[in-house]
């Protein structure tokens, strides 16, 4: 067994410096020269760079000559940094023996610090605490150490003090990786067992699967089986990322690398699945596999009908690269033909939507996102899953909605506001603990549809940015909900219908119609906006008819200015969806996400 391999991840709360630390490790070990470093090398997708978050997992092999004089191969597995992708995070962690837990010296322990630390503990990882940004004047490492000891069952008395930005402590981190994190265990001669922790589709090479080999070995020419998918392939190439792609002869027990095997569909290489040998297969899969289930659904429609085929082709292409999102054709009276699409979470949804528009040049309308509800029969068995308001029936008696357990970190001073917010969102407080003198860790159970949209933004703004949040799905609970329809000039617009708690229906309906009044542009006729439950109208607003809209003059024959204005107006119109005679902008379909709490 190779003693000189170390497999580790970096986990942290968002913005605590995970990617910058990773960049420094690459630079320090010479994986990339300073010249080659673009900030946050591992985040290679444009979207990742823009949003400053990691969407996909990555792995990089670093060579490091330690102070003991020996050469080590360090496999750094970078993990996604958003709760939407927590399953992917857990599989990346399962591929490691240790994790660097990065904590911002000025911010201290946050909700995701704890959530990630516990994920690492569940996977039996050795945790190496690193306090980052110690060069900042507000840095308070003592406080961070105290918080760590109170919240996480690890030895935090001797953390590494570092500053990725200033290049402080990077050597210490590498030494700790070698000394504290155990080498991988495993049997090179046993049947192959390799865990897939990420995969993507490359137009030239087919699917590239990132794996951690636990037992056995894999090399080109070998026949392999994907145990979950139940499919066999022949390996074309194995290798590692340095971060440049580098083919190697074989990957043995303890190694981290990639496998290319002529696979055409990423759905065959699901994250969490086990790869074994066709000829000498392992008896069972590695533990922890589950299929990623979409949690949030919305309708995606082209604003112009003729883009339907292009949208379909684009979804097919993206699906090649992302097995975790789903889509099926759907039609809406208001919006025509489109697709009901399922996502891991709201960020995942935004990313897919943005990629569709950016990479495929589509203009899309996405309808109000919804969680999945369950209709239950008298015996308590699931009758149907409801992923769209149009499938909702107000006469259905027994309906359940998904709940999450949310952990909120908040300074004591803002407790009142956070209590109010959680109460307004139908939350039930389950736990309350002081972390240090002035911070509180709250645990709530909340309906998922109450927290998916603007909950975090609200929480942040009411606590001046000090609160942090992490949550996980915990199951379905009975619900008392109703569908509110929205009508424009007396025509129901199916895509604007919303499912809300009965007790809040009037209050929310009032707000939705007010919001829509502000968002629907004025037409040459009056537009009546109504909210109704069944045939009963519960709120109404009117967008008055446009009365004056004409350019006063085109001075001195300046026709270009008029032309540019027309183009701008035309572009604005293109982004709207014609519903009957009414032009509805994209924002209207998301109006329901921006409502005020009582």
């Amino acid at each position: 067994m190779p003693k000189n391999i170390r497999n580790f991840s970096i986990v942290a709360h968002i913005d605590h410096g995970k990617s910058t630390i990773a960049d420094r490790l690459l630079e320090f070990t010479g994986a990339l020269s300073h010249r080659e470093m673009t900030a946050q090398v591992l985040d290679s997708m444009d979207l990742e760079k823009e949003r400053g978050i990691t969407i996909k997992a990555h792995s990089v092999r670093l060579s490091y000559k330690a102070q003991d004089g020996q050469e080590y191969l360090l496999n750094l597995i970078d993990t996604p940094g958003h709760v939407d992708f927590s399953y992917e995070v857990s599989r990346s962690l399962a591929s490691c023996e240790g994790a660097l837990l990065i904590i911002d010296a000025t911010q201290g322990v946050e909700a995701q610090t704890i959530a990630n630390a516990y994920l690492a503990i569940e996977n039996d990882l050795e945790i190496v605490p690193v306090i980052n940004k110690i060069d900042l004047p507000q840095a308070d490492p003592e406080r961070v150490i105290a918080q760590l000891e109170e919240t996480i069952p690890i030895d935090a008395s001797n953390p590494i003090l570092a500053s990725a930005k200033a290049g402080i402590g990077i050597g210490d981190i590498l030494e700790a990786v070698v000394k504290k994190i155990p080498p991988p265990k495993g049997d090179d001669s046993a049947p192959l067992k390799a865990l897939i922790f990420d995969s993507w589709f490359d137009a030239y090479r087919g699917v590239i699967a990132l794996v951690r080999v636990f037992d056995g070995s894999v090399q080109a020419g070998m026949k392999i089986r994907l145990m979950g998918a139940g499919k066999d392939y022949e390996v074309g190439e194995v290798g590692v990322f340095t971060p440049k792609i580098l083919p190697v002869g074989r990957l043995g027990a303890g190694d981290v690398g990639y496998i290319i095997a002529g696979i055409k569909d990423v759905a065959d290489t699901r994250v969490g699945d086990t790869i074994t040998g066709t000829e000498n297969p392992a008896s069972e899969r590695l533990p922890g596999y589950r299929e990623a289930r979409p949690m949030v659904y919305c309708g995606l429609y082209p604003t112009e009908h003729h883009q339907y085929a292009a949208l379909k082709a684009a979804l097919e292409k993206l699906k090649l690269n992302d097995a975790s999102f789903t889509y099926e054709p759907e039609s809406s009276q208001a919006l025509g033909f489109g697709f009901r699409s399922g996502f891991l979470g709201l960020l995942h949804m935004e990313i897919i939507r943005e990629r569709l528009e950016r990479e495929f040049g589509l203009t899309l309308i996405s309808t109000t996102p919804t969680v999945i509800y369950r209709a239950i029969d008298d015996e308590g068995n699931e009758k149907a899953l409801i992923d769209s308001p149009s499938k909702w029936d107000n006469s259905e008696k027994n309906v359940q909605e998904p709940y999450v357990k949310a952990v909120i970190f908040v300074p004591e001073a803002y407790l009142g506001a956070v209590f109010d917010l959680c109460r307004a969102r139908r939350g039930v407080q389950k736990d309350f603990n002081y972390i240090g003198k002035d911070r509180v860790m709250l645990t709530y159970e909340l309906p998922m549809n109450e927290i998916l949209w603007d909950f975090f933004d609200k929480l942040k703004s009411m606590t001046k940015g000090y609160a942090s949040l992490d949550y996980e799905f915990i199951g379905y609970r009975d619900a008392d909900l109703v569908r509110v329809d929205i009508l424009l000039n007396s025509e129901p617009v199916d895509a604007l219908a919303i499912i809300v708690p009965k007790e809040k229906a009037y209050f929310l309906a009032r707000q939705v119609v007010e919001k829509l009044r502000g968002l629907i542009p004025r037409h040459m006729f009056e537009v009546a906006i109504q909210a109704a439950i069944g045939s009963k109208v519960i709120a109404r607003e009117t967008v008055r008819a446009l009365r004056k809209d004409v350019t006063a003059k085109c001075y001195g024959g300046d026709i270009s200015r008029k032309r540019k204005l027309l183009e701008k107006q035309k572009e604005g119109k293109r982004k709207m969806k014609q519903v009957g005679r009414v032009e509805v902008p994209q924002e209207a379909f998301l109006a329901v996400l921006q409502l005020e709490d009582k």
């Binding site: 037409h523 009365r547 003059k553 001075y555 001195g556």
Partner: protein
């Protein structure tokens, strides 16, 4: 070339608060240099042979418009020089000298505070036959809000001065929708205008242009623009009063007694050609006729704009470089769009048969939908905005163009 526009980018001490046109405070030496540059621009165009090739090396045009800025801020001597320059280079069908030919329209914009008897007679002698006075309002407070540097009295005097000098074809510009303007105020301004016996009135809605002091004041909340309903009321009041006095509402913002429509302005909407001289001046040349197109002649209609900066404009010409900077070649689609959005600004409208040539049966079909809604009218072979349609013309155009796939 149908028309010529000459831009004089000089004003009184300060710009009006709503103005975003290119201008600077009048400086006699700069203005002198500028006249030299204008002369050079004409000379270079002649050398290029593109536009200025006509009888006696003069370009025949149907209208000429001297705008600004404030052209009459020039000293009498400079006005003479300007008119002399134009007279030497342009001809109006027959005869010589600016405006000598019948039917030609030669307009100059006049600011009430900058006109006197001497300048008036200089203009008349120089061939100008139409005066457009920037009155804007007869209310003192409104003039102040607009940042105009003249009084209501100045405006009345200006009309009298040019009339006494012998001008008969007089137009005045008025603005409505001014912060603080009440219906009665606007009615009084219109009554005063009508009592002056002018032949043409331009009634423009005040438009907030970005980066003007006025838009800054509105953003800060120091001034409040009137509500849309209010503006519509003012618009219809002008239409009602002017039509009752015999004026024809011949374009969105323009009214004239029969035969006194501004040929120069109509030329813009009818997509006639025009040559703009001076800083920031705009020009338009139609696509050449396919059968007669010669090597290198443009296949597309072309719009261009001269250098924006006054000094840049002069510098270029002093180096013998033509100052055309923003050049835009129109695609066939853009030509079609222009046909629609420019034509519909006039009461005359767009010709059904031209529409048929450009769009096939679609034009009548799409326009028909808007006729049903009472926004367009179709008669005597033309499609035009209805009385109710004019104030929402931009929205109508957008719908019509969308219906035509443009």
């Amino acid at each position: 070339m149908d028309s010529v526009y000459v831009h004089i980018p000089f004003c009184l001490a300060k710009k009006c608060l709503y103005c975003d046109f290119v201008s600077m405070p009048y400086s006699p030496p700069v203005a002198q240099r500028y006249l030299g540059a204008l002369s050079r621009e004409i000379a270079l165009l002649k050398e290029a042979g593109d536009f200025l090739a006509g009888p006696q090396d003069k370009l025949a045009v149907k209208s000429l418009f001297i705008g600004g800025g404030t052209p009459t801020v020039l000293e009498t001597r400079q006005l003479e020089e300007l008119l002399d320059l134009l007279g030497k280079n342009f001809v109006f069908q027959q005869g010589s000298g600016v405006g000598a030919g019948a039917g030609a329209e030669v307009t100059i914009e006049v600011n009430p505070a900058t006109i006197d008897t001497e300048k008036s007679s200089t203009l008349l002698k120089g061939g100008v036959n139409r005066i457009s006075i920037g009155v804007q309002s007869f209310s003192g407070p409104e003039l102040k809000t607009l940042g105009r540097l003249h009084t209501s009295r100045d405006a009345l005097d200006a009309v009298k001065t040019v009339k006494d000098a012998g001008f008969e074809n007089i137009s005045i510009d008025l603005i409505y929708g001014i912060p603080g303007q009440r219906v009665e105020d606007w009615r009084r301004t219109l009554e005063t205008a009508l009592a002056l016996g002018v032949r043409h009135v331009s009634a423009y809605e005040l438009t907030l242009e970005e980066h003007t002091p006025l838009s800054g004041l509105v953003e800060k909340g120091a001034l409040r623009m009137p509500e849309e309903d209010e503006v519509v009321r003012l618009y219809f009041l002008a239409e009602e009063m002017l039509e009752a006095a015999g004026f024809v509402h011949y374009e969105v913002s323009n009214y004239a007694l029969a035969g006194r429509e501004s040929l120069h302005n109509l030329n813009y909407w009818r997509r006639g050609e025009y040559l703009g001289l001076g800083a920031a001046a705009h020009s338009f040349k139609r696509a050449s006729q396919r059968f007669f197109s010669t090597e290198g002649a443009p296949r597309n209609g072309k719009r261009w704009k001269n250098a924006d900066g006054i000094f840049r404009y002069m510098d270029l010409l002093e180096k013998d470089v033509l100052p055309a900077e923003e050049i835009f070649l129109l695609t066939p689609e853009e030509e079609k769009r222009e046909f629609v959005f420019l034509g519909l600004r006039t009461r005359e409208g767009i010709s059904v048969s031209d529409g048929r040539d450009l769009f096939g049966p679609d034009m009548e079909k799409e326009a028909g939908l808007l006729v049903k809604e009472g926004l367009l009218e179709m008669s005597r072979g033309f499609i035009r905005a209805s009385r109710a349609g004019f104030p929402v013309l931009d929205a109508i155009i957008l719908r019509l163009l969308a219906g035509l796939g443009l």
